[in-house]
Amino acid sequence: MIECKNITKTYKSGEVEIHALKNLSFKINDGEFVAIIGPSGSGKSTLMYILGCLDTPSSGEYIFAGKNVSKLSDDELAEFRKNKIGFVFQMFNLLPRTTVLRNVMLPLIYAGVSPQKREEKAKNALTVSAFPQEFWHHFSNQLSGGMQQRVAIARALVNDPQLILADEPTGNLDSKTGDIVINTLVDLNRKGHTLVIVTHELYIAKYAKRIIALKDGEIIEDATVEKSKSLKIIKE
Protein backbone atom coordinates (compact mmCIF):
# COMPACT_ATOMS: atom_id res chain seq x y z
CA MET A 1 0.00 0.00 0.00
CA ILE A 2 1.25 3.48 -0.80
CA GLU A 3 0.12 6.76 0.66
CA CYS A 4 0.81 10.39 -0.24
CA LYS A 5 0.31 12.98 2.50
CA ASN A 6 0.27 16.65 1.47
CA ILE A 7 2.92 16.21 -1.18
CA THR A 8 4.29 19.32 -2.84
CA LYS A 9 7.09 19.64 -5.35
CA THR A 10 8.67 22.97 -6.17
CA TYR A 11 11.32 23.61 -8.79
CA LYS A 12 13.40 26.69 -8.99
CA SER A 13 13.97 27.88 -12.49
CA GLY A 14 16.18 30.93 -12.14
CA GLU A 15 14.25 33.47 -10.08
CA VAL A 16 10.89 31.82 -10.70
CA GLU A 17 9.49 29.07 -8.49
CA ILE A 18 7.45 26.46 -10.30
CA HIS A 19 4.92 24.57 -8.18
CA ALA A 20 4.69 21.29 -10.00
CA LEU A 21 2.64 19.56 -7.33
CA LYS A 22 0.44 21.30 -4.79
CA ASN A 23 -0.57 19.51 -1.64
CA LEU A 24 -1.56 16.09 -3.01
CA SER A 25 -2.94 13.42 -0.73
CA PHE A 26 -4.21 9.98 -1.74
CA LYS A 27 -3.80 6.28 -1.06
CA ILE A 28 -3.36 3.38 -3.43
CA ASN A 29 -4.12 -0.07 -2.06
CA ASP A 30 -2.49 -3.32 -3.10
CA GLY A 31 -3.96 -4.78 -6.26
CA GLU A 32 -5.36 -1.51 -7.55
CA PHE A 33 -5.09 -0.33 -11.16
CA VAL A 34 -4.82 3.46 -11.22
CA ALA A 35 -4.48 5.76 -14.20
CA ILE A 36 -3.01 9.18 -13.55
CA ILE A 37 -4.19 11.48 -16.28
CA GLY A 38 -3.84 15.12 -17.14
CA PRO A 39 -2.58 17.40 -19.90
CA SER A 40 1.11 18.21 -20.34
CA GLY A 41 2.37 20.38 -17.53
CA SER A 42 -0.24 19.06 -15.12
CA GLY A 43 2.47 17.50 -12.94
CA LYS A 44 1.69 13.86 -13.71
CA SER A 45 5.27 13.03 -14.66
CA THR A 46 6.57 14.68 -11.51
CA LEU A 47 4.10 12.65 -9.50
CA MET A 48 5.18 9.46 -11.23
CA TYR A 49 8.84 10.10 -10.41
CA ILE A 50 7.93 10.59 -6.76
CA LEU A 51 5.74 7.47 -6.71
CA GLY A 52 8.59 5.58 -8.38
CA CYS A 53 11.07 6.78 -5.74
CA LEU A 54 13.19 8.44 -8.44
CA ASP A 55 12.60 11.79 -6.78
CA THR A 56 11.58 13.06 -3.36
CA PRO A 57 8.86 15.61 -2.58
CA SER A 58 9.78 19.13 -1.42
CA SER A 59 7.42 18.71 1.50
CA GLY A 60 4.88 16.18 2.66
CA GLU A 61 5.27 12.47 3.25
CA TYR A 62 5.32 9.54 0.89
CA ILE A 63 4.74 6.27 2.68
CA PHE A 64 5.63 3.14 0.71
CA ALA A 65 4.92 -0.21 2.36
CA GLY A 66 4.89 1.42 5.79
CA LYS A 67 8.13 3.31 5.25
CA ASN A 68 8.55 7.04 4.82
CA VAL A 69 10.73 7.38 1.75
CA SER A 70 10.49 11.15 1.32
CA LYS A 71 13.76 11.89 3.06
CA LEU A 72 15.97 9.10 1.71
CA SER A 73 19.31 9.68 -0.02
CA ASP A 74 19.92 8.77 -3.67
CA ASP A 75 21.51 5.42 -2.90
CA GLU A 76 18.84 4.54 -0.34
CA LEU A 77 16.19 5.29 -2.96
CA ALA A 78 18.05 3.05 -5.43
CA GLU A 79 18.04 0.27 -2.88
CA PHE A 80 14.30 0.78 -2.45
CA ARG A 81 13.55 0.79 -6.20
CA LYS A 82 15.58 -2.34 -6.69
CA ASN A 83 13.12 -4.69 -5.02
CA LYS A 84 9.83 -2.85 -4.74
CA ILE A 85 9.18 -1.00 -7.99
CA GLY A 86 9.05 -2.04 -11.63
CA PHE A 87 9.18 0.56 -14.41
CA VAL A 88 7.75 0.54 -17.92
CA PHE A 89 8.85 3.55 -19.99
CA GLN A 90 7.45 5.15 -23.10
CA MET A 91 10.77 4.63 -24.92
CA PHE A 92 11.10 0.99 -23.73
CA ASN A 93 14.70 1.71 -22.61
CA LEU A 94 16.09 -1.72 -23.37
CA LEU A 95 19.81 -2.34 -23.73
CA PRO A 96 20.60 -2.62 -27.44
CA ARG A 97 22.72 -5.49 -28.79
CA THR A 98 21.69 -7.50 -25.75
CA THR A 99 19.40 -10.53 -25.77
CA VAL A 100 15.84 -10.34 -24.52
CA LEU A 101 16.68 -12.73 -21.68
CA ARG A 102 19.62 -10.66 -20.52
CA ASN A 103 17.56 -7.47 -20.66
CA VAL A 104 14.97 -9.04 -18.40
CA MET A 105 17.68 -10.29 -16.04
CA LEU A 106 19.25 -6.83 -15.66
CA PRO A 107 17.42 -5.80 -12.44
CA LEU A 108 18.38 -9.14 -10.87
CA ILE A 109 22.08 -8.37 -11.41
CA TYR A 110 21.79 -5.31 -9.19
CA ALA A 111 19.60 -7.17 -6.71
CA GLY A 112 22.35 -9.75 -6.20
CA VAL A 113 20.35 -12.76 -7.36
CA SER A 114 22.51 -15.78 -8.25
CA PRO A 115 23.04 -16.38 -11.99
CA GLN A 116 21.12 -19.68 -11.98
CA LYS A 117 18.06 -18.16 -10.31
CA ARG A 118 18.18 -15.13 -12.58
CA GLU A 119 17.49 -17.13 -15.70
CA GLU A 120 14.65 -19.02 -14.06
CA LYS A 121 13.02 -15.80 -12.84
CA ALA A 122 13.51 -14.07 -16.19
CA LYS A 123 11.88 -16.95 -18.06
CA ASN A 124 8.96 -16.85 -15.64
CA ALA A 125 8.52 -13.14 -16.13
CA LEU A 126 8.62 -13.50 -19.92
CA THR A 127 6.00 -16.23 -19.75
CA VAL A 128 3.76 -14.09 -17.54
CA SER A 129 4.02 -11.14 -19.94
CA ALA A 130 3.09 -13.53 -22.78
CA PHE A 131 6.32 -12.95 -24.68
CA PRO A 132 6.81 -15.65 -27.38
CA GLN A 133 9.59 -18.05 -26.45
CA GLU A 134 11.21 -18.17 -29.90
CA PHE A 135 12.42 -14.59 -29.48
CA TRP A 136 14.02 -15.02 -26.05
CA HIS A 137 17.51 -15.10 -27.48
CA HIS A 138 17.03 -12.33 -30.04
CA PHE A 139 18.70 -8.99 -29.62
CA SER A 140 16.28 -6.41 -28.28
CA ASN A 141 16.92 -3.97 -31.12
CA GLN A 142 15.76 -6.57 -33.66
CA LEU A 143 12.23 -6.59 -32.22
CA SER A 144 9.17 -4.50 -33.09
CA GLY A 145 8.06 -1.76 -30.71
CA GLY A 146 5.22 -3.82 -29.24
CA MET A 147 7.53 -6.75 -28.61
CA GLN A 148 10.12 -4.47 -27.04
CA GLN A 149 7.54 -3.03 -24.68
CA ARG A 150 6.55 -6.53 -23.59
CA VAL A 151 10.20 -7.25 -22.83
CA ALA A 152 10.18 -4.07 -20.76
CA ILE A 153 7.07 -5.29 -18.92
CA ALA A 154 8.73 -8.63 -18.20
CA ARG A 155 11.76 -6.71 -16.90
CA ALA A 156 9.49 -4.60 -14.67
CA LEU A 157 7.93 -7.61 -13.00
CA VAL A 158 10.96 -9.92 -12.80
CA ASN A 159 11.73 -8.74 -9.25
CA ASP A 160 8.20 -9.34 -8.10
CA PRO A 161 7.73 -5.65 -7.26
CA GLN A 162 4.94 -4.29 -5.06
CA LEU A 163 4.20 -1.57 -7.60
CA ILE A 164 4.50 -1.45 -11.39
CA LEU A 165 4.68 2.06 -12.81
CA ALA A 166 4.05 2.58 -16.50
CA ASP A 167 4.83 5.96 -18.02
CA GLU A 168 2.90 6.37 -21.31
CA PRO A 169 3.48 2.69 -22.10
CA THR A 170 1.70 2.94 -25.45
CA GLY A 171 2.97 6.39 -26.37
CA ASN A 172 5.40 5.06 -28.98
CA LEU A 173 3.16 2.35 -30.40
CA ASP A 174 0.40 2.23 -32.98
CA SER A 175 -3.07 1.53 -31.61
CA LYS A 176 -3.03 -2.17 -32.49
CA THR A 177 0.22 -3.03 -30.73
CA GLY A 178 -0.76 -0.54 -28.04
CA ASP A 179 -3.81 -2.66 -27.36
CA ILE A 180 -1.72 -5.79 -27.00
CA VAL A 181 0.57 -4.04 -24.53
CA ILE A 182 -2.28 -2.56 -22.48
CA ASN A 183 -4.00 -5.96 -22.39
CA THR A 184 -0.78 -7.48 -21.05
CA LEU A 185 -0.82 -4.89 -18.29
CA VAL A 186 -4.51 -5.51 -17.52
CA ASP A 187 -3.70 -9.17 -17.33
CA LEU A 188 -0.92 -8.51 -14.81
CA ASN A 189 -3.32 -6.52 -12.65
CA ARG A 190 -5.77 -9.39 -12.79
CA LYS A 191 -2.99 -11.62 -11.44
CA GLY A 192 -2.67 -9.30 -8.44
CA HIS A 193 -0.01 -6.74 -9.37
CA THR A 194 -0.55 -3.16 -8.26
CA LEU A 195 -0.44 -1.00 -11.37
CA VAL A 196 -0.14 2.75 -11.89
CA ILE A 197 -0.27 4.10 -15.44
CA VAL A 198 0.57 7.68 -16.27
CA THR A 199 -0.97 8.71 -19.57
CA HIS A 200 -2.63 11.48 -21.45
CA GLU A 201 -4.43 9.08 -23.77
CA LEU A 202 -7.95 8.67 -22.50
CA TYR A 203 -8.66 5.36 -24.22
CA ILE A 204 -5.73 3.85 -22.32
CA ALA A 205 -7.00 5.30 -19.04
CA LYS A 206 -10.30 3.54 -19.59
CA TYR A 207 -8.64 0.19 -18.97
CA ALA A 208 -7.86 1.24 -15.38
CA LYS A 209 -10.20 0.87 -12.43
CA ARG A 210 -9.48 4.22 -10.84
CA ILE A 211 -8.67 7.61 -12.29
CA ILE A 212 -6.62 10.34 -10.64
CA ALA A 213 -6.88 13.45 -12.79
CA LEU A 214 -4.38 16.27 -12.36
CA LYS A 215 -4.44 19.83 -13.53
CA ASP A 216 -1.84 22.49 -12.69
CA GLY A 217 -0.38 20.32 -9.98
CA GLU A 218 -3.64 19.66 -8.19
CA ILE A 219 -5.94 16.66 -8.08
CA ILE A 220 -9.14 17.66 -9.79
CA GLU A 221 -10.71 14.24 -9.60
CA ASP A 222 -10.09 10.92 -7.85
CA ALA A 223 -12.81 8.44 -8.79
CA THR A 224 -13.52 5.04 -10.25
CA VAL A 225 -13.56 4.80 -14.02
CA GLU A 226 -17.31 4.39 -14.06
CA LYS A 227 -17.91 7.64 -12.13
CA SER A 228 -15.10 9.67 -13.65
CA LYS A 229 -16.14 12.85 -15.42
CA SER A 230 -12.59 13.71 -16.43
CA LEU A 231 -12.50 10.97 -19.01
CA LYS A 232 -15.14 12.94 -20.85
CA ILE A 233 -13.81 16.44 -20.15
CA ILE A 234 -10.06 16.32 -20.61
CA LYS A 235 -8.94 16.96 -24.13
CA GLU A 236 -5.49 17.40 -25.39
Binding site: D74, D75, E79, R81, F89, N93, P96, P107, G112, R155
Partner: protein, 406 residues
Protein backbone atom coordinates in the same frame (compact mmCIF):
# COMPACT_ATOMS: atom_id res chain seq x y z
CA UNK B 1 26.90 -6.92 -8.82
CA UNK B 2 29.20 -9.86 -9.35
CA UNK B 3 32.64 -9.65 -10.97
CA UNK B 4 31.49 -11.92 -13.79
CA UNK B 5 28.53 -9.59 -14.47
CA UNK B 6 30.88 -6.64 -14.52
CA UNK B 7 33.16 -8.40 -17.00
CA UNK B 8 30.26 -9.38 -19.21
CA UNK B 9 28.74 -5.89 -19.18
CA UNK B 10 32.15 -4.40 -19.91
CA UNK B 11 32.99 -6.66 -22.80
CA UNK B 12 29.53 -6.19 -24.33
CA UNK B 13 29.96 -2.43 -24.10
CA UNK B 14 33.46 -2.48 -25.62
CA UNK B 15 32.51 -4.89 -28.39
CA UNK B 16 29.51 -2.78 -29.36
CA UNK B 17 31.88 -0.25 -30.90
CA UNK B 18 34.89 -2.27 -31.97
CA UNK B 19 36.54 0.38 -34.11
CA UNK B 20 36.47 3.02 -31.42
CA UNK B 21 37.61 0.63 -28.69
CA UNK B 22 40.36 -0.65 -30.97
CA UNK B 23 41.70 2.80 -31.76
CA UNK B 24 41.62 3.81 -28.12
CA UNK B 25 43.48 0.64 -27.18
CA UNK B 26 45.99 1.38 -29.94
CA UNK B 27 46.90 4.60 -28.17
CA UNK B 28 47.78 2.66 -25.03
CA UNK B 29 49.57 -0.06 -27.02
CA UNK B 30 51.85 2.52 -28.58
CA UNK B 31 52.40 4.21 -25.25
CA UNK B 32 53.24 1.07 -23.27
CA UNK B 33 55.14 -0.42 -26.21
CA UNK B 34 57.40 2.58 -26.55
CA UNK B 35 57.95 2.81 -22.79
CA UNK B 36 59.05 -0.84 -22.72
CA UNK B 37 61.14 -0.47 -25.86
CA UNK B 38 62.90 2.65 -24.61
CA UNK B 39 63.58 1.33 -21.12
CA UNK B 40 64.90 -1.88 -22.64
CA UNK B 41 67.42 0.16 -24.62
CA UNK B 42 68.43 2.02 -21.48
CA UNK B 43 68.82 -1.12 -19.43
CA UNK B 44 70.60 -2.99 -22.20
CA UNK B 45 73.09 -0.16 -22.66
CA UNK B 46 73.70 0.02 -18.94
CA UNK B 47 74.29 -3.72 -18.87
CA UNK B 48 76.78 -3.71 -21.73
CA UNK B 49 78.69 -0.71 -20.38
CA UNK B 50 78.92 -2.42 -17.01
CA UNK B 51 80.18 -5.63 -18.60
CA UNK B 52 82.72 -3.55 -20.54
CA UNK B 53 84.05 -1.92 -17.42
CA UNK B 54 84.20 -5.25 -15.60
CA UNK B 55 86.19 -6.72 -18.50
CA UNK B 56 88.88 -4.13 -17.96
CA UNK B 57 89.95 -6.22 -15.00
CA UNK B 58 88.43 -7.23 -11.74
CA UNK B 59 89.02 -5.16 -8.61
CA UNK B 60 90.98 -2.66 -10.65
CA UNK B 61 92.40 0.56 -9.26
CA UNK B 62 94.00 2.99 -11.69
CA UNK B 63 96.49 5.67 -10.69
CA UNK B 64 96.94 8.45 -13.20
CA UNK B 65 99.10 11.56 -13.04
CA UNK B 66 97.32 14.79 -12.31
CA UNK B 67 98.09 18.38 -13.35
CA UNK B 68 101.65 19.40 -13.92
CA UNK B 69 102.02 22.02 -11.21
CA UNK B 70 104.69 24.59 -11.67
CA UNK B 71 105.66 27.83 -9.96
CA UNK B 72 104.18 29.90 -12.72
CA UNK B 73 100.66 28.61 -11.86
CA UNK B 74 100.15 27.52 -15.45
CA UNK B 75 98.39 24.19 -15.59
CA UNK B 76 99.34 21.95 -18.48
CA UNK B 77 96.19 19.88 -18.08
CA UNK B 78 95.14 16.72 -16.35
CA UNK B 79 97.30 13.67 -17.02
CA UNK B 80 100.30 15.64 -18.17
CA UNK B 81 102.32 15.41 -14.99
CA UNK B 82 105.18 13.00 -15.21
CA UNK B 83 105.05 12.44 -11.51
CA UNK B 84 104.67 8.68 -11.26
CA UNK B 85 107.84 6.63 -11.22
CA UNK B 86 108.94 3.03 -11.00
CA UNK B 87 109.82 3.74 -7.37
CA UNK B 88 106.18 4.54 -6.69
CA UNK B 89 105.27 1.22 -8.27
CA UNK B 90 107.73 -0.64 -6.04
CA UNK B 91 106.48 1.21 -2.97
CA UNK B 92 102.90 0.21 -3.70
CA UNK B 93 103.93 -3.38 -4.27
CA UNK B 94 105.86 -3.56 -1.02
CA UNK B 95 104.05 -1.33 1.43
CA UNK B 96 100.37 -1.79 0.78
CA UNK B 97 98.43 -4.80 1.99
CA UNK B 98 95.72 -6.60 -0.01
CA UNK B 99 97.34 -5.80 -3.34
CA UNK B 100 97.45 -8.76 -5.69
CA UNK B 101 99.40 -7.26 -8.56
CA UNK B 102 100.71 -3.90 -9.77
CA UNK B 103 101.32 -3.10 -13.42
CA UNK B 104 103.05 0.14 -14.37
CA UNK B 105 102.28 1.43 -17.83
CA UNK B 106 103.92 3.92 -20.16
CA UNK B 107 102.06 4.37 -23.38
CA UNK B 108 102.30 6.64 -26.34
CA UNK B 109 101.43 6.40 -30.02
CA UNK B 110 104.21 5.66 -32.53
CA UNK B 111 104.44 4.78 -36.17
CA UNK B 112 105.00 1.03 -36.51
CA UNK B 113 106.43 -0.57 -39.64
CA UNK B 114 106.40 -4.22 -40.65
CA UNK B 115 107.38 -5.80 -43.91
CA UNK B 116 105.61 -3.57 -46.45
CA UNK B 117 102.87 -2.32 -44.08
CA UNK B 118 102.73 0.33 -41.43
CA UNK B 119 100.30 1.68 -38.88
CA UNK B 120 100.12 4.17 -36.06
CA UNK B 121 99.18 2.60 -32.77
CA UNK B 122 99.47 2.67 -29.03
CA UNK B 123 102.75 1.30 -27.71
CA UNK B 124 102.25 0.10 -24.16
CA UNK B 125 105.31 -0.40 -22.00
CA UNK B 126 104.40 -2.62 -19.06
CA UNK B 127 105.33 -5.64 -16.91
CA UNK B 128 104.08 -9.27 -16.81
CA UNK B 129 101.57 -8.28 -14.09
CA UNK B 130 99.56 -6.50 -16.77
CA UNK B 131 98.05 -9.81 -17.94
CA UNK B 132 96.45 -10.55 -14.59
CA UNK B 133 95.54 -6.97 -13.72
CA UNK B 134 93.78 -6.32 -17.01
CA UNK B 135 92.23 -9.75 -17.56
CA UNK B 136 94.22 -10.20 -20.75
CA UNK B 137 94.98 -13.60 -22.31
CA UNK B 138 97.64 -14.75 -24.74
CA UNK B 139 96.58 -16.31 -28.03
CA UNK B 140 99.92 -17.24 -29.55
CA UNK B 141 103.50 -17.17 -28.25
CA UNK B 142 104.05 -15.65 -24.81
CA UNK B 143 103.78 -12.37 -22.96
CA UNK B 144 106.68 -10.25 -21.71
CA UNK B 145 108.65 -11.95 -18.93
CA UNK B 146 110.21 -10.46 -15.80
CA UNK B 147 113.62 -11.22 -17.26
CA UNK B 148 112.90 -9.31 -20.46
CA UNK B 149 111.86 -6.33 -18.31
CA UNK B 150 115.16 -6.31 -16.39
CA UNK B 151 117.23 -6.83 -19.53
CA UNK B 152 115.63 -4.02 -21.59
CA UNK B 153 114.70 -6.64 -24.21
CA UNK B 154 113.42 -5.35 -27.54
CA UNK B 155 110.46 -7.72 -27.74
CA UNK B 156 106.84 -6.96 -28.57
CA UNK B 157 103.48 -8.61 -28.05
CA UNK B 158 100.81 -7.56 -30.57
CA UNK B 159 97.12 -7.05 -30.06
CA UNK B 160 95.02 -8.99 -32.60
CA UNK B 161 93.86 -5.87 -34.45
CA UNK B 162 97.42 -4.58 -34.78
CA UNK B 163 98.49 -8.03 -35.96
CA UNK B 164 95.73 -7.93 -38.63
CA UNK B 165 96.84 -4.45 -39.70
CA UNK B 166 100.50 -5.32 -39.96
CA UNK B 167 100.55 -8.94 -41.08
CA UNK B 168 97.10 -9.70 -42.44
CA UNK B 169 94.19 -11.39 -40.73
CA UNK B 170 94.81 -14.42 -38.51
CA UNK B 171 98.45 -14.77 -39.56
CA UNK B 172 101.05 -15.85 -37.03
CA UNK B 173 103.72 -13.17 -36.82
CA UNK B 174 105.64 -14.68 -33.86
CA UNK B 175 109.37 -14.56 -34.62
CA UNK B 176 109.11 -11.74 -37.13
CA UNK B 177 110.43 -8.24 -36.62
CA UNK B 178 108.72 -4.84 -36.58
CA UNK B 179 110.16 -1.37 -36.36
CA UNK B 180 108.79 0.99 -33.74
CA UNK B 181 110.08 4.51 -34.12
CA UNK B 182 113.07 3.20 -36.01
CA UNK B 183 114.03 0.49 -33.53
CA UNK B 184 113.70 -3.22 -34.31
CA UNK B 185 111.51 -5.34 -32.04
CA UNK B 186 111.07 -9.08 -32.18
CA UNK B 187 107.50 -10.32 -31.92
CA UNK B 188 107.06 -12.91 -29.18
CA UNK B 189 103.29 -13.20 -28.90
CA UNK B 190 99.76 -12.15 -29.82
CA UNK B 191 96.98 -11.47 -27.29
CA UNK B 192 93.44 -12.79 -27.50
CA UNK B 193 90.79 -10.41 -28.78
CA UNK B 194 88.91 -8.77 -25.94
CA UNK B 195 86.53 -6.47 -27.75
CA UNK B 196 86.57 -2.73 -27.51
CA UNK B 197 85.94 -1.16 -24.15
CA UNK B 198 84.30 2.20 -23.84
CA UNK B 199 87.72 3.81 -23.38
CA UNK B 200 90.40 2.18 -25.49
CA UNK B 201 90.69 -1.03 -27.40
CA UNK B 202 93.33 -3.32 -25.99
CA UNK B 203 93.09 -5.23 -29.25
CA UNK B 204 94.84 -2.43 -31.10
CA UNK B 205 98.02 -2.19 -29.06
CA UNK B 206 101.61 -3.34 -28.90
CA UNK B 207 103.02 -4.39 -25.54
CA UNK B 208 106.73 -4.04 -24.83
CA UNK B 209 108.73 -4.21 -21.58
CA UNK B 210 108.31 -0.95 -19.65
CA UNK B 211 112.06 -0.54 -19.22
CA UNK B 212 112.54 -0.70 -22.97
CA UNK B 213 109.79 1.87 -23.47
CA UNK B 214 111.37 4.21 -20.96
CA UNK B 215 114.90 3.89 -22.22
CA UNK B 216 114.57 3.65 -26.00
CA UNK B 217 111.23 5.28 -26.83
CA UNK B 218 110.34 7.87 -24.18
CA UNK B 219 113.82 8.58 -22.97
CA UNK B 220 112.53 9.20 -19.45
CA UNK B 221 111.86 7.00 -16.48
CA UNK B 222 108.33 8.07 -15.51
CA UNK B 223 105.24 5.90 -15.92
CA UNK B 224 101.97 7.20 -17.37
CA UNK B 225 99.58 4.94 -15.48
CA UNK B 226 99.74 2.41 -12.67
CA UNK B 227 97.12 -0.34 -12.63
CA UNK B 228 96.61 -2.09 -9.29
CA UNK B 229 94.60 -5.23 -8.71
CA UNK B 230 93.14 -5.49 -5.21
CA UNK B 231 92.63 -8.85 -3.49
CA UNK B 232 88.83 -8.56 -3.32
CA UNK B 233 86.05 -6.05 -4.01
CA UNK B 234 85.68 -5.46 -0.25
CA UNK B 235 89.15 -4.01 0.22
CA UNK B 236 89.13 -1.71 -2.81
CA UNK B 237 88.19 1.42 -0.88
CA UNK B 238 90.86 0.75 1.77
CA UNK B 239 93.55 0.07 -0.80
CA UNK B 240 92.52 3.23 -2.65
CA UNK B 241 92.95 5.34 0.50
CA UNK B 242 96.24 3.71 1.39
CA UNK B 243 97.67 4.31 -2.06
CA UNK B 244 96.58 7.95 -1.94
CA UNK B 245 98.24 8.44 1.45
CA UNK B 246 101.40 6.64 0.38
CA UNK B 247 101.81 8.64 -2.79
CA UNK B 248 101.04 11.95 -1.05
CA UNK B 249 103.77 11.15 1.42
CA UNK B 250 106.21 10.05 -1.26
CA UNK B 251 105.55 13.14 -3.37
CA UNK B 252 105.79 15.42 -0.30
CA UNK B 253 102.32 16.88 -0.75
CA UNK B 254 100.53 17.95 2.45
CA UNK B 255 97.24 19.11 0.96
CA UNK B 256 95.41 16.22 -0.74
CA UNK B 257 93.54 18.62 -3.03
CA UNK B 258 96.91 19.60 -4.52
CA UNK B 259 97.79 15.96 -5.35
CA UNK B 260 99.63 15.46 -8.64
CA UNK B 261 97.87 12.16 -9.29
CA UNK B 262 94.37 10.62 -9.29
CA UNK B 263 93.43 7.26 -7.82
CA UNK B 264 90.33 5.85 -9.50
CA UNK B 265 88.72 2.54 -8.71
CA UNK B 266 86.66 0.59 -11.16
CA UNK B 267 83.64 1.34 -8.99
CA UNK B 268 84.20 5.07 -9.49
CA UNK B 269 84.13 4.58 -13.23
CA UNK B 270 81.15 2.25 -12.93
CA UNK B 271 79.31 4.81 -10.80
CA UNK B 272 79.89 7.54 -13.35
CA UNK B 273 78.79 5.28 -16.19
CA UNK B 274 75.71 4.11 -14.29
CA UNK B 275 74.59 7.63 -13.54
CA UNK B 276 75.02 8.42 -17.21
CA UNK B 277 72.96 5.45 -18.41
CA UNK B 278 70.34 6.12 -15.75
CA UNK B 279 69.93 9.64 -17.05
CA UNK B 280 69.59 8.26 -20.54
CA UNK B 281 66.98 5.69 -19.45
CA UNK B 282 64.93 8.32 -17.65
CA UNK B 283 65.16 10.60 -20.66
CA UNK B 284 64.00 7.89 -23.05
CA UNK B 285 61.22 6.73 -20.71
CA UNK B 286 60.01 10.30 -20.30
CA UNK B 287 59.64 10.72 -24.05
CA UNK B 288 57.77 7.42 -24.28
CA UNK B 289 55.73 8.44 -21.24
CA UNK B 290 54.35 11.39 -23.15
CA UNK B 291 52.81 9.05 -25.70
CA UNK B 292 51.35 7.04 -22.83
CA UNK B 293 49.82 10.22 -21.48
CA UNK B 294 48.30 10.95 -24.87
CA UNK B 295 46.91 7.40 -24.89
CA UNK B 296 45.38 8.05 -21.48
CA UNK B 297 43.71 11.19 -22.73
CA UNK B 298 42.32 9.09 -25.59
CA UNK B 299 40.78 6.77 -22.99
CA UNK B 300 39.20 9.69 -21.19
CA UNK B 301 37.90 11.12 -24.43
CA UNK B 302 36.30 7.82 -25.42
CA UNK B 303 34.80 7.29 -21.97
CA UNK B 304 33.25 10.76 -21.94
CA UNK B 305 31.71 10.13 -25.36
CA UNK B 306 30.42 6.76 -24.19
CA UNK B 307 28.84 8.26 -21.09
CA UNK B 308 27.04 10.88 -23.18
CA UNK B 309 25.87 8.27 -25.67
CA UNK B 310 24.56 6.02 -22.97
CA UNK B 311 22.89 8.55 -20.70
CA UNK B 312 19.48 6.90 -21.14
CA UNK B 313 20.96 3.52 -20.38
CA UNK B 314 22.49 4.97 -17.22
CA UNK B 315 19.09 6.42 -16.32
CA UNK B 316 17.46 3.04 -16.79
CA UNK B 317 20.08 1.26 -14.73
CA UNK B 318 19.57 3.76 -11.96
CA UNK B 319 15.78 3.39 -12.17
CA UNK B 320 15.96 -0.37 -11.73
CA UNK B 321 18.15 -0.01 -8.66
CA UNK B 322 21.79 0.55 -9.66
CA UNK B 323 23.60 2.62 -7.05
CA UNK B 324 26.20 5.29 -7.78
CA UNK B 325 28.92 2.78 -7.02
CA UNK B 326 27.50 0.25 -9.50
CA UNK B 327 27.49 2.81 -12.30
CA UNK B 328 30.94 4.22 -11.59
CA UNK B 329 32.37 0.70 -11.26
CA UNK B 330 30.94 -0.21 -14.64
CA UNK B 331 32.54 2.71 -16.46
CA UNK B 332 35.77 2.43 -14.52
CA UNK B 333 35.91 -1.25 -15.44
CA UNK B 334 35.52 -0.34 -19.09
CA UNK B 335 38.40 2.13 -18.93
CA UNK B 336 40.61 -0.30 -17.03
CA UNK B 337 39.81 -3.10 -19.43
CA UNK B 338 40.78 -0.88 -22.37
CA UNK B 339 44.10 0.05 -20.80
CA UNK B 340 44.73 -3.49 -19.62
CA UNK B 341 44.24 -4.92 -23.09
CA UNK B 342 46.40 -2.11 -24.45
CA UNK B 343 49.01 -2.81 -21.78
CA UNK B 344 49.16 -6.52 -22.61
CA UNK B 345 49.51 -5.88 -26.34
CA UNK B 346 51.92 -3.04 -25.59
CA UNK B 347 54.22 -5.34 -23.63
CA UNK B 348 54.33 -7.71 -26.59
CA UNK B 349 54.96 -4.81 -28.97
CA UNK B 350 57.69 -3.38 -26.74
CA UNK B 351 59.34 -6.77 -26.48
CA UNK B 352 59.28 -7.30 -30.24
CA UNK B 353 60.57 -3.74 -30.64
CA UNK B 354 63.51 -4.39 -28.32
CA UNK B 355 64.38 -7.59 -30.17
CA UNK B 356 64.25 -5.77 -33.51
CA UNK B 357 66.35 -2.90 -32.16
CA UNK B 358 69.09 -5.19 -30.89
CA UNK B 359 69.03 -7.22 -34.10
CA UNK B 360 69.01 -4.43 -36.66
CA UNK B 361 70.46 -1.44 -34.85
CA UNK B 362 72.96 -3.45 -32.85
CA UNK B 363 72.02 -1.73 -29.60
CA UNK B 364 71.95 -4.00 -26.59
CA UNK B 365 68.46 -4.25 -25.04
CA UNK B 366 67.06 -6.10 -22.08
CA UNK B 367 63.47 -6.64 -20.96
CA UNK B 368 62.93 -7.57 -17.34
CA UNK B 369 59.93 -8.95 -15.47
CA UNK B 370 59.87 -5.86 -13.27
CA UNK B 371 59.45 -3.72 -16.37
CA UNK B 372 56.52 -5.82 -17.58
CA UNK B 373 54.81 -5.73 -14.19
CA UNK B 374 55.46 -2.01 -14.00
CA UNK B 375 53.93 -1.53 -17.45
CA UNK B 376 50.80 -3.41 -16.40
CA UNK B 377 50.61 -1.41 -13.21
CA UNK B 378 50.98 1.85 -15.11
CA UNK B 379 48.34 0.93 -17.67
CA UNK B 380 45.87 -0.09 -14.97
CA UNK B 381 46.62 3.15 -13.15
CA UNK B 382 46.03 5.12 -16.34
CA UNK B 383 42.67 3.39 -16.73
CA UNK B 384 41.69 4.36 -13.21
CA UNK B 385 43.01 7.91 -13.42
CA UNK B 386 41.58 8.75 -16.82
CA UNK B 387 38.42 6.68 -16.31
CA UNK B 388 37.63 8.17 -12.93
CA UNK B 389 36.26 11.48 -14.10
CA UNK B 390 33.92 10.03 -16.80
CA UNK B 391 32.76 7.31 -14.39
CA UNK B 392 32.02 9.82 -11.68
CA UNK B 393 30.16 11.95 -14.16
CA UNK B 394 28.04 8.95 -15.17
CA UNK B 395 27.38 7.97 -11.55
CA UNK B 396 26.29 11.44 -10.50
CA UNK B 397 23.71 11.78 -13.27
CA UNK B 398 20.20 12.49 -12.08
CA UNK B 399 18.10 9.42 -13.08
CA UNK B 400 15.11 11.50 -14.14
CA UNK B 401 17.11 13.78 -16.40
CA UNK B 402 19.03 10.78 -17.74
CA UNK B 403 15.82 8.93 -18.62
CA UNK B 404 14.41 11.99 -20.38
CA UNK B 405 17.64 12.73 -22.27
CA UNK B 406 17.08 13.05 -25.99
Amino acid sequence: MLITDLLQETSTALLSNKARSGLTILGIIIGIGSVIGMISIGQGTAGSIEANIQSMGSNLITIMPGFQRSFSQVSAGRGTAQSLTMDDVKAIEEEIANVKAVAPQLSRRYQVVSKGKNTNTQIMGTTPAYLSVRNLKIDEGSFITEQQVTSFAKVAVLGPTTRDDLFGENSNPVGQTIRISGINFKIIGVTQPKGGTAFASEDDMIFIPITTAQKFLAGADYVSTISVEAESPQVITDVQTEITNLLLQRHHIADSSMADFNVLSQQDILKAATSMTNTMTIFLAAIAGISLLVGGIGIMNMMLTTVTERIREIGLRKAIGAKKKDISMQFLAEAVMLTFLGGAAGVVLGWVLSILISRFAGIATSVSLTMILLAFGISAAIGIIFGYYPARRAASLNPIEALRYE
